[in-house]
């Protein structure tokens, strides 16, 4: 077996552990971003102007500053300043979560604005409160519409998570670099890392596509595009 293959075989379990670490971060960040993003979108679409102002500011900041800068700012700056001793995993999950929340909020906001206002009116006309109408009528629909864009966001955040290696988080990239610096087998190792990212992306996108199909509202045209 050529040395390049031996390195990959030997280090594969070690790299796969990194894949689990990466997947863990991304799942946490995406779910955190989902929760926060929905709240932000609701606030921006239905809230009074001071709320809208603050939330829009949030969107501008988190979309306007590179993730790497945010990571340093939070990990070395804010968390330390506040005396919070977060692990690398938690820190990265928080920063990626806050970032993706901004992008997800925009996805949800767009979906909300595309929903015919009449349905909200109809809900109100039946005596539903605004909160009930948002929970029972708006969210179930906009979350469905948002799945393709959300899937896109997943694939972006997955790859952004590689930045976590700069604060020493033991994810795919950090582990690959560690092995490469010892064995000098850069080419095969980074190809392997690339393949692992590719597979993680593929799995996530496939699962979300399945979900999209499963929750599709009957009667709406199934354009059947296979992603």
């Amino acid at each position: 077996m050529p040395p390049s293959l031996t390195v990959i075989v030997d280090s594969f379990p070690y790299l796969i552990q990194g894949a689990f670490f990466t997947a863990g971060i991304v799942v946490c960040a995406m779910l955190f971003g989902l929760l926060l993003g929905v709240c932000i979108a609701v606030g921006i679409v239905y809230g009074p102007w001071p709320v809208r102002f603050v939330l829009n500011l949030y969107l501008w900041i988190f979309r306007g500053v590179p993730v790497l800068v945010l990571l340093f700012l939070f990990y070395f700056g804010l968390f330390t300043y506040l005396g919070l001793n977060f692990s690398a995993f938690v820190s990265v999950a928080i920063v990626l979560g806050l970032t993706t929340a901004a992008y997800q909020a925009n996805i949800f906001k767009g979906a909300m604005l595309s929903l015919p206002i009449g349905q909200f009116r109809a809900a109100s006309s039946l005596g539903m409160s605004d909160v009930q109408a948002i929970k029972s009528i708006v969210l179930p629909q906009i979350l469905r519409i948002s799945i393709p864009a959300w899937s896109n966001e997943y694939s972006i955040i997955l790859k952004d998570s590689a930045l976590a290696f700069v604060i020493g988080a033991p994810e795919i990239m950090a582990r690959t670099q560690f092995v490469a610096s010892r064995t000098y087998q850069h080419l095969p190792l980074y190809i392997t890392a690339g393949i692992i990212y590719f597979v993680l992306t593929w799995i996530g996108v496939r699962l979300l596509f399945k979900l999209e199909k499963r929750v599709r509202i009957p009667g709406y045209s199934d354009n059947g595009a296979n992603s």
Partner: protein
């Protein structure tokens, strides 16, 4: 007070969008079992008036009373209460796209009335059967025709036991061959004594059902009276002129 006499009183409603005044001091009263029909040119403020009556659009000023009791429009609880008592049918149906016909009807029963699922389903089944859709309950809005959608919307409103029903051009968005099925549902409601205010251009509904016709233009009720008074032979009212033009447009003479 006028307690028993009027179910609904609307007094001097005003509504503007910016410089554009839509409603100019509109007042009306509604007795139990009465059917008022609202007609007039497009843009005259009919939809705005109907939406102001249950505060889907907040009026700038004016009062709304039910059974002689003024509703505090600033209080959300009172508002939600008012809307439960005043049902609304929209021109474009506004069904909840993600719910089956059955759940379109049950959702408010469950969320607003806090009925359990079994009771809500039973009530919804009853209402859907009343509008002739007992066999369509599992279908989603996208799987229904326009006429069926509007009938689901009517069942949905009726399930809340409204005291008054507001209908905003309930047949205007329908293909001509589907108008009949919705009209017969509305006529059946009228026969049962439902109190209604309906904006419509459907001559058969105006002449056949209305106790009172309100002709609305430029945000003002310009004329009102019984169909006979406004539309009787030889009357030279503006309402008459308007209806003549409608009949001309209908062409084939419906």
């Amino acid at each position: 007070m006028t307690e028993a006499k009027f179910i609904l009183e609307v007094d001097t409603l005003n509504k503007s969008y910016g410089d554009n005044t839509i409603l100019k001091g509109v007042s009306l009263t509604l007795e139990e079992g009465e059917i008022k029909v609202l007609i007039g040119p497009s843009g005259g403020g009919k939809s705005t008036l109907l939406q102001c009556i249950n505060c889907l659009v907040a009026p700038d000023s004016g009062t709304i009373s039910m059974h002689g009791k003024e509703i505090n429009l600033k209080n959300k609880k009172d508002l939600y209460q008012l809307r439960q008592r005043v049902g609304m049918i929209f021109q474009e149906f506004n069904l909840f796209d993600h719910l089956t016909a059955l759940d379109n009807v049950t959702i408010a029963l469950r969320k607003v009335r806090r009925m359990d699922k079994g009771a809500a389903n039973k009530r919804a089944m009853f209402e859907l059967e009343q509008v002739g859709l007992g066999d369509k309950i599992e279908l989603y809005p996208a799987q229904l025709s326009g006429g069926q959608k509007q009938r689901v919307a009517i069942a949905r409103a009726l399930a809340m036991d409204p005291e008054v029903l507001l209908l905003d051009e309930p047949t205007s968005a329908l293909d001509p061959e589907l108008v009949g099925e919705v009209i017969s549902v509305i006529k059946a409601l009228a026969a049962k004594g439902m109190t209604m205010i309906m904006a419509t251009h459907q001559i058969s509904l105006i002449a056949g059902l209305a106790r009172n016709v309100l002709f609305m233009e430029n945000g003002i009720i310009q004329e009102q009276g019984s169909p006979k008074e406004l539309l009787g032979a030889g009357k030279k009212t503006r309402t008459q002129g308007f209806c003549d033009r409608l009949s001309d447009l209908d062409g084939e003479g419906s």
